[in-house]
């Protein structure tokens, strides 16, 4: 007679052969799940055999029990292995994605390129402890011309250069109002309200009564920097200029300072930068000289310091003023300044 335990062992051997065969021929993860359920699940055939060994003697129970455990372990491993093999074969998508499809993202907006540059410069000067200040766009002859040391008959005071409010005719000084022709008047406002030493920037838009073309605008942005301290050497200007140009172009740009004349500075400078189109070798953009005039500057004229309530014998300083639109044009190679105020989205969308 055949021992029950032998029967069970034989059944286990057959089960093993059949199960391993099914595992090997499984073609999907779902097949593996089915085999797992059939074989080693709670109602599976391996556990059914385990339940059947209850009636065996202790010795046989140990032998068959060990065989059941061994088969369970072996099947488990085989199923896991096959499952991983199948997972490796199965792609996440039934059809491979067209990887050349454009990516998606949030809706794209953007800052105006001049404003972008203004903020870049604000950040650079903030790191040097400069305050940001702004004065009014409608200002007075007092601040824009009288305090700026413009002689009473200076041509810039005529309407041909400055936009005067139409009720300002025949008025003078604080009562004659205009759209500010430059930012410099705001420096006196700041000086009058702060105690030196001072270091601040005051960007903004200014207005000149000019005819417009690709290089000239009636409304344009300037960026002005003023430092006031007891001993500000002329060469401080070079430092301020380098800060601006490094920020704009992301690399050091060669500059030169030469003599220039403006009523509100003494001495005054023109600061040129090396032409970025030809690297200083001379081209059409720089009229063959290798340099471009980018910013005037200089030490505040003693009369300007006095207007700001500062004693010129005690305080010195340095102004740097730069045409922001012009720097933006150089930064990107833009050839028509009128685009800046065009609100044309085909233009503005390029600077996101």
């Amino acid at each position: 007679m055949i021992d029950t335990s032998d029967l069970l062992l034989r059944e286990l051997a057959e089960l093993r052969t059949a199960a391993m065969g099914r595992v090997a021929s499984a073609v999907a993860v779902s097949d593996v799940d089915t085999i797992r359920r059939d074989m080693i699940g709670k109602a599976g055939r391996v556990l059914a055999i385990r339940r059947a060994i209850g009636g065996l003697d202790a010795m046989a129970r140990r032998v068959v029990g060990a065989a059941v455990n061994e088969l369970h372990r072996e099947l488990s491993q085989a199923l896991d292995r096959r499952e991983e093999e199948l997972l490796d074969l199965e792609p996440a998508l039934p059809h491979p994605v067209d990887v050349t499809l454009p990516g998606t993202g949030p809706r794209a907006g953007g800052l105006h390129p001049t404003v972008q540059l203004m903020y870049d410069l604000n950040d650079a000067f903030a790191a040097l402890n400069f305050e940001v200040y702004s004065g009014p766009e409608i200002s007075s002859e007092l601040y824009e011309f009288d305090y700026m040391n413009f002689p009473p008959d200076h041509p810039a005071r005529e309407s041909m250069d400055t936009f005067w409010l139409n009720d300002s005719v025949a008025r003078h000084g604080a009562e004659r109002l205009c759209l500010r022709p430059h930012l410099t008047g705001a420096s006196v406002r700041y000086m009058q309200r702060h105690r030196p030493p001072l270091r601040f920037v005051y960007p903004g838009r200014v207005y000149r009564n000019e005819s417009t073309d690709a290089r000239h605008e009636r409304a344009f942005f300037q960026y002005e920097v003023l430092i006031i301290d007891r001993d500000v050497p002329l060469t401080a200007g070079k430092f301020l200029v380098s800060t601006i140009l490094d920020t704009v172009f992301g690399r050091p740009v060669r500059t030169r300072m030469r003599t220039g004349f403006f009523p509100f500075v003494e001495p005054g400078f023109e600061i040129d930068m090396e032409c970025q189109v030809c690297d200083g070798t001379g081209c059409r953009t720089c009229h063959g000289v290798g340099w471009l005039e980018v910013m005037p500057g200089g030490s505040p004229h003693p009369n300007v310091l006095r207007a700001g309530g500062l004693d010129p014998n005690e305080w010195t300083g340095f102004y740097v003023n730069v045409g922001l639109d012009r720097l933006v044009m150089m930064r990107y190679g833009i050839d028509d300044v009128r685009l800046m105020h065009s609100a044309d989205l085909r233009f503005l969308g390029q600077f996101r």
Partner: protein, 804 residues
């Protein structure tokens, strides 16, 4: 101003080996901006002297043969009237550039008939030399026989055009009256290159007279000198070298006396004027006109002199506009022999006003406006007499009268070496400082650390007056580029908190970089049509003179009109527009002191406006509203509340909100009215706008996010679609649902719908209710009970019923 290097070379030995370009560069860095360096010989390249050997007619053409070298002849077919055989003419060889009418062409050898033509005959016209040879036929061969040039010599050499001319930007000369003549530039070059400056000529003055100058009014000028002289017959043309110099700097030549006055002005910067002595009566006076009368000027214009106009008058009245232009009635002509030369110092403001008043700007007025010193009259008179003797030996100088009211006082300046070092950033050698200043004409007295200086008269009319001016003189000649960059010391200041950040920047960056709008910048002025489109008119605006167009003389009282205009333009090439602008608006009404100051000004505010277009009005309105909420949240700005109230006329009655900061209205949000869209030509089904006064908006002092403990137990949510009357708002529905049961944690709007199966005056609203319990896991029964509670509350409080 154009400066001839040959002319400058009369007064300073220009250093050998320094190119004109290098000289221009040095002047640009240290003195004035040189805009261009022009070789005047370049335009005459390839043009040489030829001796006419034969002139023959071949068929219908004239053939001229010229000898242009020892063993070289050139045959040319020409239509130019040619001088006789043996005369010397200008021959343009192949490669030379000639002017034909207004077109430049290059001479080339070519076959004409069966012969080769190897050049062209030069004329004053095609060689661009009419100014130099004003009396010659511009279309006739340029006859050089009188100059006896050697054949083959380049024409430029013969007429003195082997020169370089520097073109100086006049703007960079405005504060330097001393540089408005070649001598001033020569002085600068002598200092820059440290080479000697030759003195201007001085002459023995003619006998003094008391009949040449009458009254000089102190309001008009400080000095008036008059010199009487006489030319001999037959000498009325200036010599070629002098005319050539004038031509090289772009000046036309007229006659001997006039050319001499020009030459003097372009040398020393002092304008002078020659009168026909037989056409003036009595002494010259520098006065303000006493009565109104017409005065015909040299250029043919007639100006209306009024009382107060500065004039030179003789016994009969004005003969010149003082410092601007002479009169036609006293002008010298070809036959004039007896003349009076006027050399004066007029006040700059007086000349400037007269020049502006009559719209007459001349080389003379440009110089007087810069403020000339009285001493320069001496230099001008001496140079004039010197040249007169040189170029017209037969002429005679009779008498001089000179009235000086107030001579220019050389300006004394004291400066400490320590001050110079502090301002320049480095201590320059005192020897160098002294040498530079002496070269520029200063007298220098060094006493320890102190320099006592006297500026030369030519720098003492306002240019040099205090120590800061000396800083510039010393530093510029040393070279700004040679100064070391001194690092600046940094003073620590309190760090900037979130709250001190700029509202404008937060708004711009949040809208552009996080909310997807494009920033635009528009002009501060606005068109009448755009104003009308938003229901505004010119009475609502601040207006200004000199507007770019008559219908754009209003400053914008709102950002919306220009945004609408920008949207209309962009909608021609794009389907949707989402833009914003941050900028100043200007408000009509009574003026108020600006800030804490005293200037009475219109109110100026900084605003933000945004504009969105799209097909669905409700969605657009909700996006605009959402933008504002997101803007204040992401930008950490103070709260902007929505409410009823007065809005602007562009906001449609069906979709608008008033914006508040606390109790203060600060703006409007809404859809544009159909009328506004029509008037603005906006080709979009719907347009939403919002405008906020940023003056009332602040940046929060710190971040305002709040922490809520993360729930440990899972929540659940269910959606309800209820039909509700149109007069019940979402806010009422949400509030009712939110408070219906303690388990309700949050209520969100999903959608609303109107359709055939929804009763008139009603809509179906879908809301999502999120439930959460702090006590334990939510059971299905608890969620069901909550749902019933919400429906019950909605029915009772809003009349809403579950959609069938």
């Amino acid at each position: 101003m154009k400066v001839s290097l040959a002319w400058v070379g009369d007064y300073v030995e220009l250093p050998v080996g320094v190119s004109p370009q290098a000289m221009a560069q040095a002047l640009t860095l240290k003195t004035v901006e040189v805009e261009d360096v022009v070789n005047t010989a370049a335009a005459l390249a390839g043009v040489v002297v030829g001796a006419v050997e034969s002139v023959r007619m071949v068929g219908s053409r004239t053939w001229v043969t010229c000898r242009t070298g020892a063993d070289r002849t050139v045959a040319m077919a020409t239509t130019v009237p040619t001088p006789a055989v043996g005369s010397a003419i200008a021959v343009a060889l192949p490669g030379a550039r000639l002017l034909n009418g207004s077109v430049e062409s290059v001479v080339a050898a070519m076959k004409v008939g069966n012969r080769r033509s190897e050049g062209a005959v030069g004329t004053p016209g095609n060689l661009r030399l009419q100014r130099l040879f004003p009396d010659a036929d511009p279309a006739g061969a340029l006859d050089l026989s009188g100059l006896s040039p050697a054949v083959g010599t380049p024409l430029a050499e013969v007429i003195g055009f082997d020169d370089v001319v520097l073109e100086i930007d006049n703007k960079s000369l405005t504060n330097r009256p001393d540089l408005w003549g070649h001598y001033g530039i020569a002085r600068e070059l002598s200092v820059i290159y440290d080479v000697p400056l030759r003195a201007l000529p001085t002459v023995v003055r003619p006998p003094a007279s008391s009949a040449l100058v009458g009254e000089v009014e102190p309001e008009v000028g400080a000095r008036l000198a008059a010199l009487s002289f006489e030319l001999e017959d037959g000498n009325t043309v200036a010599p070629l070298w002098l005319r050539s110099r004038l031509a090289r700097i772009g000046e036309a030549t007229v006659n001997l006396a006039a050319d001499l006055t020009k030459y003097v002005m372009f040398t020393v910067g002092q304008p002078t004027h020659a009168y026909d002595a037989d056409r003036i009566t009595g002494p010259l006076r520098a006065v303000a006109a006493k009565s109104a009368e017409p005065l015909r000027l040299l250029d043919g214009r007639t100006v209306g002199v009024v009382p107060g106009t500065p004039v030179i008058a003789d016994g009969n009245g004005p003969v010149a506009l003082a410092g601007v232009m002479g009169g036609a009635g006293s002008a010298i002509g070809p036959a004039t022999r007896r003349m009076v030369l006027e050399a004066a110092t007029f006040h700059p403001q007086v000349v400037r006003r007269a020049s502006l008043q009559f719209g007459v700007r001349t080389e003379a007025s440009a110089r007087f406006e810069k403020a000339l010193d009285t001493q320069r009259v001496d230099a001008a008179v001496d140079l004039f007499v010197h040249l007169l003797h040189e170029v017209a030996p037969g002429s005679s100088v009779h008498a001089l009268q000179d009235v000086t009211l107030t001579p220019t006082m050389p300006a004394p300046v004291a400066v400490q070496l320590g001050f110079l070092a502090g301002r320049i950033g480095t201590a320059l050698d005192v020897m160098e400082i002294e040498h530079t200043l002496r070269g520029l004409g200063f007298t220098v007295d060094v006493d320890g650390d102190r320099l006592s200086l006297t500026a030369p008269a030519w720098r003492s009319t306002g240019d040099i007056s205090w120590p800061h001016d000396i800083v510039e003189e010393v530093a510029r000649i040393h070279g700004y580029d040679n100064l070391p960059v001194v690092p600046l010391s940094i003073r620590l200041a309190p760090v900037r908190s979130l709250g001190s950040r700029s509202v404008e920047r937060q708004v711009r960056q949040t809208l552009a970089l996080r909310l997807g709008l494009q920033e635009v910048v528009t002009y501060p002025w606005v068109s009448d049509a755009s104003l009308a489109a938003v229901g505004l008119g010119k009475t609502d605006t601040v207006r200004f003179d000199g507007a770019p167009a008559p219908d754009r003389d209003s400053l914008r009282p709102s950002l919306v009109p220009n945004l609408i205009e920008a949207a209309a333009v962009n909608l021609r090439h794009t389907s949707t527009v989402e833009i914003f602008e941050v900028g100043t608006t200007f408000h009509a009404g009574p003026y108020a002191a600006y800030g804490d100051g005293f200037e009475p000004m219109p109110r100026q505010t900084t605003r933000m406006a945004a504009l969105l277009t799209g097909p669905d009005g409700v969605a657009l309105f909700r996006r605009a509203k959402g933008l504002l909420g997101q803007l204040t949240h992401l930008g950490h700005l103070s709260r902007i509340e929505f409410g009823d109230g007065e809005t602007t006329s562009w906001a449609d009655v069906s979709a608008r909100l008033c914006l508040y900061s606390g109790p203060t209205p600060i703006g409007t949000l809404g859809l544009l009215t159909k009328r506004s869209r029509r008037l603005a030509g906006l080709d979009a089904p719907h347009v939403a706008c919002l405008e906020v006064d940023l003056g009332a908006v602040g940046v929060r002092p710190s971040r305002d996010n709040t922490y809520v403990p993360v729930p440990e137990l899972p929540g659940a949510e269910f959606d309800l679609s209820v039909v509700v009357a149109d007069n019940v708002t979402w806010a009422e529905i949400a509030s009712s649902a939110r408070h219906a049961d303690p388990l309700v944690a949050r209520v969100d709007f999903i959608d609303e719908f109107r359709g055939s199966w929804v009763r008139d005056g009603h809509r179906s609203v879908t809301l999502r209710v999120s439930v959460r319990s702090a006590e334990g896991t939510l059971t299905g029964d608890a969620i069901g009970a909550c749902r019933e509670a919400v429906l019950g509350a909605l029915a009772e409080e809003t009349g809403a019923h579950l959609r069938p």
